[in-house]
């Protein structure tokens, strides 16, 4: 009985023990499998993390060599990641209107008209970090293309820029003389440039050293050029072998000053010297009507002809000042040119013409005025808060022809000896890309007997400018 009982208990105990051992072994196996599973999952997570890390490194590495493409108010730009190569495509279009309220004569040249004043695609940029280039074409209304002056090519040059202090530019570009001439056609205060611009060279083929000294407050430029007539452009010298030398010093001595009243002051002087042969240009009013021309003809006694023939020099002191929304600039030019009158025999004279202008503007909307482009604080939106930038403008200028010009070198009846113009206007910069302008200009003349010269000129000019 007892034995049976003991045996039964032993069997029960043995069964329980073996079940417990089996249970423990099973648990140990489960734990091992679980740990292995955790380890595998950890490895997978690490691999994913590492792959993400490597993708990040690859992206960073790729970004170092991937060109950056951008499109905005400043145009379309592609640049390499290291910025050593840049290509920018932009341009501007000016659709103008010219109106002469006091002239209804159909035979007059003062016809009210709409025209494309400038249509200029621009390609510019940099190669190998230090070489800047620019190609600007122009396709305005009535643009001529001649061997002596290909008007389609405005700028075509390369500027090597090893240091900001010493740069070397070669090609076709603006000679460094007239202040308003050097201002971009897209940033002009008035629709047409003033009188001094007609006495300085425009664009010419040549080579120029230039740079910014003393941390940038003194800009210099000195170059050798084919030489062009006053107000003229050229890219192929056909009249003479001589070259013109042009130079300019322009200082903004307080540009880094804390003093707000002085910071916007800039002043300088520019000039050219050389020898010029060939045709002479007429002078025009702000309404682009000719008020003075040198005599042109076959060079006979009955039809004399006047051309440039000899020394030419120009000098132009110039200055600007900007303070907050207010800005003013002025320049004065003396242009001396030796001329020849051919009427069977030749007669020579040195004629010295002068021109000057002062122009001012004020932003009613409070933008900081500048010689360069102005960005409206709040671009215009229809029905919204933005009004754009509204700028009021005013100017006065004169062009005085040398008295010795008459009567041998110009017709005193059909040409004025002096033009004096005043103008007012408003520029509405809707945004960085669109600008609308309205000018009223009035001109009086000294000398001349034609109805136009006696009555003077009143003109209304309008412009819609789109730049991109």
């Amino acid at each position: 009985m007892n034995i049976e009982r003991v045996t039964g208990v032993a069997v029960i105990l043995a069964t329980g023990l073996s079940w417990s051992v089996a249970q423990a072994q099973s648990q140990e196996t489960d734990t091992k499998a679980l740990l292995q599973r955790i380890e595998e999952l950890e490895q997978k997570v690490r691999v994913l993390d590492r792959k993400r890390e490597l993708d990040g490194e690859a992206t960073t590495e790729k970004a170092k060599t991937t060109p950056v493409v951008s499109l905005g108010a400043g145009g379309f730009t592609v640049r390499t990641a290291d910025t050593n190569f840049v290509l920018r495509i932009r341009g501007y279009i000016q659709a103008d209107g010219r109106f002469y309220p006091d002239d209804d004569s159909p035979t007059s040249t003062r016809n009210d008209t709409f025209l494309l004043r400038r249509v200029r695609p621009i390609i510019e940029g940099t190669v190998f970090d230090k070489f800047d280039y620019r190609l600007m074409l122009d396709f305005p209304s009535g643009s001529p293309s001649t061997a002596g002056n290909n008007a389609y090519v405005q700028d075509a040059y390369v500027n090597y820029r090893p240091f900001s202090e010493l740069q070397f530019q070669i090609g076709k570009f603006k000679e460094p003389v007239g202040l308003e001439r050097l201002q971009s056609g897209a940033n002009l205060l008035f629709i047409e440039r003033g009188y001094p611009t007609q006495l300085v060279p425009n664009r010419d083929m040549g080579a120029q050293l230039q740079g910014d000294l003393f941390g940038g407050w003194l800009n210099y430029a000195a170059g050798i050029f084919n030489g062009v007539a006053n107000g003229g452009s050229g890219d192929n010298e056909q009249a003479d072998d001589d070259k013109d030398f042009a130079g300019r010093l322009f200082a903004t001595p307080f540009v880094k000053s804390e003093n707000d009243w002085l910071r916007g002051l800039g002043l300088g002087v520019a000039g050219t010297v050389g020898d010029q042969q060939g045709a002479l240009r007429s002078f025009v009013t702000p309404g682009q009507q000719t008020f003075f021309s040198y005599i042109t003809g076959a060079g006979t006694l009955a039809a004399p002809n006047v051309t440039a023939d000899g020394d030419i020099w120009r000098i132009s002191p110039q200055a600007y000042y900007y303070k907050g929304p207010f800005g003013i600039f002025g320049e004065y030019v003396i242009a001396s040119q030796e001329v020849r009158r051919t009427a069977g025999t030749s007669t020579f004279a040195t004629l010295r013409n002068t021109g000057w202008q002062v122009a001012a503007s004020y932003f009613l909307t409070g933008e900081d005025n500048s010689f360069k482009a102005v960005t409206p604080r709040k671009p215009f939106t229809w029905g919204g808060e933005g009004l754009g930038a509204v700028e009021l403008t005013a100017r006065y200028g004169q062009l005085d022809v040398d008295d010795d010009t008459f009567p041998l070198y110009a017709n005193a009846a059909t040409s004025a000896s002096k033009a004096s113009s005043w103008g007012v206007g408003v520029n509405w910069h809707l945004n960085r890309n669109i600008k609308l302008s309205l000018n009223y200009e009035q001109t009086e003349f000294d000398g001349g007997t034609s109805a136009f010269l006696e009555n003077g000129e009143k003109t209304v000019l309008t412009r819609a400018q789109f730049s991109f």
Partner: protein, 336 residues
């Protein structure tokens, strides 16, 4: 008389300036564009060479180093990185510079002893301490569940040597059966969870990110890992057979000529073959070429049967085209 006197002045000044210039010591800069794991080798060697050059010429020379996957580095030189010398993982990458950028002559490899390879190495396995996966030879690497960490053969020299070592092993084991070799290497890359662009990146993956069971790469890199991260954490397994990896060096003629560093750059490479250069290579776990340095440092390397790329694959040009060019065997077998 006086005018003649003045005329002489600039000549005298110029001559004096010339003498002063030639008498004064120069500061020279070199750029050595190298592959991934040679950082430590060239840090030591550059210091030694600068000292040697200063003593010999009086000139100071500073050597800048650039490191990355060998093929990637070659591409940088082709794209304009101004290397005076290149010290790359394999001859094909230097060939590429000669062919595509024409910065050095096609026969560049004949200009220095041992085919312009001043030291050698091979491919070994680095495993975690205790060798938990029981890795002994190449066959163990293709078993299921073994995670391998080589670099990417498209960008890394070490990775190409590793790929070829595996292929060569399989060929030898299977009586030169190319299909079986391809099958073996396919299995090998099925066990690869992540590919780095360079050997040093693969080491980072294995050691610092603790990924994988076996780092398959340079012998010198494996020994360096033991030295830096501890022999108590890792072990080196040397397979029964591997490939003789011959990193190559060359002057980049056109760049050095343009920079006026030809002489010093040549001397720099020559110095790799000097006893000092060979000792530095040995100290950094590369197998030196010189008998003396090999006798001194050879004991640290396990014995392994080595085959060359010429013997098994017929040279780099053929190998590159068949295995590593776009659409080649590697592209066929590796699907990330």
């Amino acid at each position: 008389m006086k005018i003649q006197h003045y005329l002489k002045l600039p000549i005298i000044l110029a001559a004096t300036a010339g003498l002063v210039a030639s008498a004064s010591a120069k500061d020279i800069k070199l750029l050595n564009v190298s592959y991934d794991p040679t950082r430590e080798l060239y840090v030591e060697f550059n210091a030694a060479f600068a000292k040697h050059w200063k003593a010999k010429t009086g000139d100071s020379v500073t050597i800048d180093q650039s490191h990355g996957g060998s093929s990637k580095q070659a591409r940088s030189v082709i794209d304009g990185l101004s290397a005076d010398v290149v010290t790359l993982a394999l001859a094909y990458d230097v060939d590429a510079i000669a062919e595509r950028a024409r910065l050095l002559p096609p026969d560049w490899q004949k200009r220095l002893p041992n085919n312009s390879s001043p030291y050698t190495s091979t491919i070994v396995f680095l495993v975690r301490k205790g060798n938990p996966k029981g890795i002994k030879d190449w066959d163990d690497l293709v078993k299921p569940g073994v995670k391998l960490i080589p670099a990417n053969p498209k960008t890394s020299g070490a990775a190409r040597w590793a790929y070829l070592a595996a292929w060569g092993y399989a060929l030898k084991k299977n009586g030169n059966d190319e299909a079986k070799a391809k099958e073996f290497v396919t299995k090998f890359y099925k066990n690869v969870p992540v590919l780095d662009t360079g050997a040093r990146g693969a080491t980072t993956t294995f050691i610092q990110r603790e990924i994988g069971d076996v780092l398959v790469g340079w012998e010198n890199e494996a020994y360096l890992a033991l030295k830096e991260f501890g022999a108590d954490k890792y072990e080196i397994v040397t397979p029964s057979i591997s490939i003789l990896a011959e990193p190559t060096v060359s002057l980049v003629d056109k760049v050095a000529k343009k920079k006026g560093t030809e002489a010093v750059a040549k001397a720099y490479l020559d110095h790799l073959y000097s006893e000092e250069g060979q000792e530095i290579a040995g100290r950094n776990f590369y197998r030196p070429r010189s008998e003396a340095a090999l006798a001194k440092f050879g004991k640290q390397f396990a014995k392994v049967e080595l085959f060359t790329i010429d013997e098994v694959f017929g040279g780099w040009q053929k190998t590159q085209k068949a295995h590593f060019s776009d659409g080649g065997v590697f592209d066929q077998i590796y699907k990330p």
